[in-house]
């Protein structure tokens, strides 16, 4: 195991002062790209993801459209300036291609794609600033952007990560913990329906740690879901308050 520059967990406190089951500060804003049909910006601590949704719209080329449902196109991409190290090449890496795929497969079960045959729904996600858990922040942003676009959905999809540090299961890995921890488990969860739509894992986990991680992921997702609802409400309540004046 690689040696971290600072201890990751000391007497139940993480390097950034959080408890094991604590999220970083979560900030969510809906409707940040006025040209898009739907959009959202989500921050988990220093990780910032912006998602924009266009569609359902015409599928080009037409022969790639599906006769019984909408095609989803999902792009996860990291800005060249988003990482602490040297500039990230803007060419999509194998990692970004894989993440785009798992995000698409996490969003597809949430959307009534069958209501829009022969059309296309585009979801573009850009990581503006990366400090761990980028794919799960992306997932929350994407699902809020889809809801903001009014695309019929079964539930919101909330992303959170769970990790393993010194044998302790922790919530919401930051970049340091992602690099030096013993395990990483990004999760996508539908809070109303209790369904996991994204699940990846690496590291070395016991069955018990895995079971505990699922429980902690649900707890984290429910916390973020509360923030997501507040953000959606804010968009409409601001108008209502304005009117009341």
């Amino acid at each position: 195991m690689k040696q971290p520059p600072v201890p990751l967990l000391v007497e139940g406190k993480r390097a950034d002062g959080r408890a094991p089951d604590q999220m970083r500060e979560v900030k969510i804003e809906v409707g940040v790209v006025s040209n898009a049909d739907g959009s959202a910006m989500v921050s988990y601590g220093n990780t910032v993801a912006v998602a924009a949704v266009y569609g359902p719209r015409e599928m080009h080329p037409r022969h790639l459209s599906l006769p019984d449902r909408a095609v989803m196109r999902v792009r996860y991409h990291m800005a060249p300036f988003s990482t602490k190290d040297e500039r990230k090449s803007p060419t999509p890496s194998r990692r970004e291609i894989e993440i785009s795929k798992v995000l698409r497969e996490a969003l597809e079960p949430a959307i009534f794609l069958e209501q829009f045959p022969r059309s296309r729904i585009d979801v573009f996600i850009e990581i503006v600033q990366a400090d761990g858990s980028t794919r799960v922040a992306s997932l929350t942003a994407a699902s809020l952007a889809l809801a903001d676009a009014g695309i019929p959905m079964r539930d919101l999809v909330i992303g959170v990560s769970v990790g393993l540090i010194n044998g302790v299961v922790v919530l919401d890995l930051n970049g340091l913990e992602d690099n030096y921890g013993e395990g990483d488990m990004p999760i996508g969860y539908m809070p109303n329906l209790g369904r996991f739509v994204l699940l990846q894992l690496d590291g070395a986990w016991t069955r018990e740690q895995f079971a505990e991680a699922l429980k902690l992921a649900i707890k984290g997702a429910e916390y973020v879901y509360g923030k997501a609802r507040e953000a959606l409400k804010a968009k409409y309540f601001e108008v209502a308050e304005e009117v009341a004046k």
Binding site: P67, F112, Q115, M153, L156, V243
Partner: protein, 234 residues
């Protein structure tokens, strides 16, 4: 059993009611529960619950009057953008009842790229290359738009522009001559530039505040206040 109250803001996945209730709108059935499928506002109408979506794109329905723009002129008709997820087609035979000798007359002289038309959706067939077929022959005030303005709002806000029993539309019609397209495009021809700007202000207010109760009264107040301010003092 109902799980919502009138005028409640709800989000995808929220439980609306058990399946023994009558529920309509942006909902889906999950086991024995109706859940919201969109960001929406709850309305109780007589014995039923309606979830009115607050966001969403235009879903074409047969019989809808829509306002479209000519995108392309083909051999036997026009491709029209009606803000739907698939292309719409206006065949020559549905554009006019008159005989047109296409050997001698170019279709562009009838409708050209960029022209706006008011049309009715004649049919929808998703297996067709152009799933939506339009007509100018079945309905009133259909055809090419020669003058006036077209203002776009979110398609889900169209019922608000019409209002309960047409109350909002009759209020707006005092200002201008209006055709409301089901696809969220609104044609208007106003007597003066002042009325045109006033109408646009009113439509923007309707779109922004559609989820807040008392909309028609507020729009009425807006129109009156601006009209009053614009008139010379006695």
């Amino acid at each position: 059993m109902k799980f919502v109250a009138p005028r409640q803001l709800i989000f995808p996945g929220d439980v609306v009611a058990t399946s023994d209730e009558v529920v309509e709108g942006a909902i889906y059935l999950d086991g024995n529960k109706y859940r919201a499928a969109s960001i929406g506002l709850v309305e109780f109408r007589e014995d039923k619950i309606v979830v009115v979506p607050l966001e969403g794109s235009y879903k074409p329905k047969q019989g809808d009057v829509v306002i479209g723009y000519v995108k392309d002129v083909l051999a036997m008709g026009w491709e029209i953008d009606i803000r739907a997820p698939f292309p719409a087609w206006l065949p020559l035979s549905e554009a006019t009842s008159k005989y047109v000798d296409i050997e001698r007359i170019s279709l562009t002289s009838l409708l050209n790229i960029g022209d706006a038309v008011v049309a009715t959706i004649k049919s929808i067939d998703l297996t067709d290359e152009f799933p939506v077929m339009l007509t100018l022959r079945e309905g009133e005030r259909l055809g090419k738009i020669e003058s006036g303005i077209v203002y776009e709002i979110s398609p889900v806000k169209v019922p608000r522009v019409i209002g309960k029993k047409g109350s909002m539309l009759s209020l707006l019609s005092e200002l201008c001559d209006i055709i409301v397209g089901a696809n969220g495009r609104i044609w208007a021809k106003c007597k003066s530039a002042e009325d045109e700007l006033l109408l646009i202000k009113a439509l923007a207010k309707i779109e922004a505040e559609s989820h807040v109760a008392g909309l028609t009264d507020r729009v009425k107040a807006l129109i009156e206040s601006i009209k009053r301010a614009g008139q010379p003092r006695p």
